[in-house]
Amino acid sequence: MENLKVVGKKIPKLDAPLKAAGVAQYIQDIKLPGMLYGKILYSKYPHANILKIDTSKAEKLAGVKAIVIAKDMPPNFRIGFMKDNPPLKSKKVLSIRDEIAAVAATSQEIAEEALSLIEVEYEELPGIFDPLEAMKEGAPILHEEAKSNVLKLPWRLVCGDVEKAKDESAYIAEDTFSTQWVTHCCLGTSGCIAHFDMQNNLTLYSNTQIPSLAQNDFVEALNAFGLKNRRVRIIQAVIGGGFGSKLDTYAYEYIAILLALKTKKPVKIIFTREEEFFATSPRQCTITKISQGCDKEGRLTFREVEMILDNGAYTSWGATTPSVMMLPISSLYKVPNVKYTAKCVYTNNTYCQAMRGYGNPQATFAIESNLDQLAEKADIDPLEIRRINANEPGEITPQRFKITSCGMKECIEEVAKRLNWKEKRGKDKGRGVGMASLIHVGGGARVYKSDGCGTIIKMDDFGKVDVFTGASDIGQGSDTVIAQIVAEVLGIPIEDVNVINNDTEVCPWDVGVHASRTTFVAGNAALGAANRIRQQILDAASKIFEEEPSNLDIKDSIIFSTKNSEKSIPLGKVLRRIHYTTGGKMLMAEYFYDPANENFDKEFKGNLSASYAYGTHGVEVEVDKETGKVKILNYIAAHDVGKAINPLLLEGQIYGGGLQGIGYALGEKMIYKDGRLMNGNFLDYKIPTVKDVPPIQPVIVETEEKEGPFGAKGIGEPGLVPTAPAIANAIYDAIGVRIKDLPITPEKVLAAIKAKEGEKKI
């Protein structure tokens, strides 16, 4: 690992110059000749029968080119994880974001005016907005064919014998925690342009984070439209933020496709910020009942978790987040006996999706808050109980995760040291410290049958390469990390690496940007392809030098003998020599990397990831007892990343994730009242600004993961996973009140302080 020239260096993101210059092209910026503008009419009520839709007035408006309603979609065409969502609704609406009709017009303004001319008659129905109500017997059923509001998903994990462990535990702590809806708030709103060619092949300009899977979805849609054997090409514009929001295909995309098909023109749909708030899918809210036990020495004996998730009206990947929640529930710290059940419940609220962490933040909030409660019962320092139970390399967890590299202990110690834990804890009234750890997948996650990514590299006559990767860049910097790996292996400057990552017509398959998998999986794919090119170069050079390829190396685009320093030749010269000759060749290589991880079996057991990422966050807070306001005085974020391929971008993930976590912990909440969003804009839904940035210190722990490219593991999501419980634990240390319901607002803190003082008086 020594003498690395490109890997491990703080290299600016490759597309940063374009973005800083303001010339990067986002979906908002792309225009095609003859392009029309699409707009969607949403439901007026969260639950209603649709009696009549009259589009006749809108059709007469000059500039309107098409209006579509449910009957224009193929009958029985449904989208979503459980295929329960028709992109346009015909008889019934189940949420306020239900799509009823759509218009394509020659301008945005005309499209908007046309929407106002569409007349819809509804019969309003009573709605169900609380998952507990929806689970009661006799509650109205949202999806009649499903016969129950509880989704038929088998979220149940049992490891060991929890009941027996309970009997044998010296201490048990039990409580209930809840979390709120929060939303991604990508600065670039959702949008697409659908365009058919003369043969009805579809090109979709998109900002999806799953180009290959989206391509499949749209091929299926074209089949449903009766367009068999047509090609679908996804071209990604520069993506204005993802965080999980673009992990599925959505009704608006199918509507744009339908409008484009009807008008034979390109159709663009761009969400307004208002739509982005109410018509995209947030992180789901949860109610979690948890109990954990330990023996006299503080060793964990069991963990039992029951969870209820408000799924909303339709299914997307949000309904599958319990599969990732199992990860911390079964394997955060050593815990031999585990039981977990989760119910996802249909309500007339907005439907939920993946968001950075994919369920892990909700589960970790409950586990790590409750662990402090257990430590208090057992009279053990919260730092000590974490030391005692920390995960270690070589462990096989109850869910059968094979832990390879594991820097959890180092992360805990770094936090304890840098936070000055012993000095600060339990001393100063009104000030306190808390910590919380995380486990996350760090080597891909086999949620589909393939967890792979392909890379193709071609080299020109001068040693410059084009790298075609399946891995999308959503701002996190995968373009740069992939270029660094290729440059390192080939001994060329990073400027000579061009990464192409946005077109399914030329880029190989990839399962998508999710599960913090891109550096690990796409990085390994790039590494594999680069190694193959390198071998071809060295084989060719070995003939020129009359030297074994193994005695050759490349640095600064010069091939040289490691045995005889006088033998050297510029890379370009070799390339031209083997190209411009009879029977010549140009260098190309491909590699498809699919990690050796496992799908869960029927009991949800198996080695989901090829490696696991760890981290610990520690925080010192000051709580104002008069106002309930929590101020973060110091924040340490220690992460085991295997190896930092690019510390600059890595810090960016930790700072960015950390601040999203702080927003989740202390303020952000989508306020839904009877199925309607009350704060759908940046004035009323406050995301952190620069004024909310605490003194935050990232600590990078390198454990050199054997399976990772140059030893690296994933870091995309971990930065926000343990934030909320670390803060909640620090607040408890500061003022002795525990907030169990996110976000931890000053109102809740103040109420808890008052309640506690009331108890004292009695």
Binding site: K13, A21, L187, G188, G241, R273, Q660, K691, V693
Partner: protein
């Protein structure tokens, strides 16, 4: 439809346009002049992604009607480069890792430029106060502050 004649100086170039009476400066820049560096993200003046300089003052172009700024000098992100050379702030944003998805970047850089134009050596608290007008969801702001600080030291 009735249009209004407006003269503007955009990035040191005089332009004369016929605009709609209710047309925002953001729409004029993006749709009429193809200057797409200013971004539409909230249309409420709450995020700062559409920030441009109007006579040197950072303003939300989504809230300004073009006829209101008749005769004004407008600087957009496209006007910051000196020939092929990026402005020191653009350079610092790039090098410091202050750019992730990049959607907020134009507005951030122009907001910072206006600050440094009126105060060459701002204190960190001035930078924080000024930059708090703009939202970023990716970076956690830390490196944005560093980029502005770094530029101010040059």
């Amino acid at each position: 439809m009735k249009t209004i004649k407006v003269m503007l100086n955009v990035n040191n170039e005089k332009v004369t346009l016929q605009v709609k009476p209710y047309e925002t400066l953001l729409e004029t820049l993006r749709e009429r002049l193809s200057l797409t560096g200013a971004k539409e993200s909230c249309s409420l003046g709450s995020c700062g992604a559409c920030t441009v300089l109007v006579n040197g003052t950072p303003m939300r172009s989504c809230l300004i009607l073009t006829p209101e700024v008749e005769g004004a000098s407008i600087t957009t992100i496209e006007g910051l480069k000196n020939g092929e050379k990026l402005h020191p702030l653009q350079q610092a944003f790039m090098e410091k890792g202050a750019v992730q998805c990049g959607f907020c970047t134009s507005g951030m850089i122009l907001t910072a430029k206006a600050l440094l134009d009126r105060n060459k050596k701002p204190e960190k608290r001035d930078i924080v106060k000024t930059m708090s007008s703009n939202i970023c969801r990716c970076t956690g702001y830390k490196k944005i502050i560093e980029a502005v600080e770094e530029t101010s030291k040059k």
